[in-house]
Point group: C2
Chain length 185, copies 2
């Protein structure tokens, strides 16, 4: 109870806890090493199931309070049955979650109140790449457009700078190394 | 009924429909222009909700059979309440769904039967970046490791080449342009 009344909360973000975390990480940077994970199981055709469960952080193996499942599929026009979102859509979802959380947390740190955040994401793909029709066309996104509508204290310029700190945003604007290991069973 | 018996299905992928799609796109490349979308609404703190609903493909606005919702949150150690997966985990989920679907479809095209596909994803983040402790540390992933376990006809080398055609994989290994528009309400 004592702790709770002493905690400073802005935008439902516990600024006191965040300050303690930053203090602890400054003392021991290894606490900041985060290994995020996901698993996937193919069901049939374009349908597969994602499970998010455990991770490594603060020098320990950790588990979420619950295991999260996301279904991935394609719509009928892309050979599936719409039993889940398309993985390229889920990617935009990840970007949206990350930019939104970053904005709420970074605003809180600067004591800028947020009343509402809504955002829309659109990315362009040319399926000539995936369909193998043109070798010179990338299979992935060429450009992603993001539109934020925000009610709160921060200016448009502050919002633009804060959302760019998002880890998923930062991952997408840089080339990332992906190592692939394959085992036949 | 007649159509169904004529359709060639491998790995639950309709190869006949895929062939027709490729034929149509060769005649009219504009059919392959795909605009994928996601929306996000901030709820509180690190909690927000992703909605995936409509997209543009085959020169038309399209709608999924159902609207897909994904909750994003952080665990308590990262200031949240575990009401959803972390956005950086959802990103790995998107990668997993895309590599898996790509493997199933590309195998089917080459008449390589797949019996099972399981995969695991792990990415490294250094939270000193996000926490603002070190300016020289990226907020996003530095490296992602992928492990596939596959039962089926394809060789390890074929699998490795096929999964690299994944649109989300291709998006992550290249730098992507993200345009941000901010509107204050």
């Amino acid at each position: 109870m004592t702790t709770q009344t002493q905690n400073k909360i802005v935008n439902d973000v516990n600024i006191t806890q965040l300050g303690e975390t930053i203090h602890n990480v400054r003392q021991d940077p290894q606490l900041a090493a985060f290994k995020a994970r996901a698993k996937n199981k193919w069901i049939s055709g374009t349908f597969n199931k994602i499970t998010i469960d455990d991770y490594y952080l603060a020098k320990e193996e950790q588990k979420h309070k619950q295991s999260f499942q996301i279904n991935a599929d394609e719509p009928p026009i892309l050979l599936g049955q719409d039993r889940g979102a398309n993985p390229v859509e889920i990617l935009l979802g990840a970007l949206s979650g990350c930019m939104t959380t970053t904005l709420a947390v970074y605003s809180a740190v600067q004591d800028l109140k947020v009343e509402s955040i809504q955002s829309e994401y659109e990315g362009d793909l040319d399926l000539q790449g995936f369909l193998g029709i043109r070798e010179d066309v990338n299979t992935g996104y060429n450009e992603i457009r993001v539109k934020f509508k925000v009610k709160g204290d921060a200016t448009e310029e502050q919002i633009r700078e804060m959302v760019k700190k998002s880890p998923v945003y930062d991952t997408l604007i840089r080339p990332i190394k992906i190592k692939i290991n394959v085992e036949k069973e």
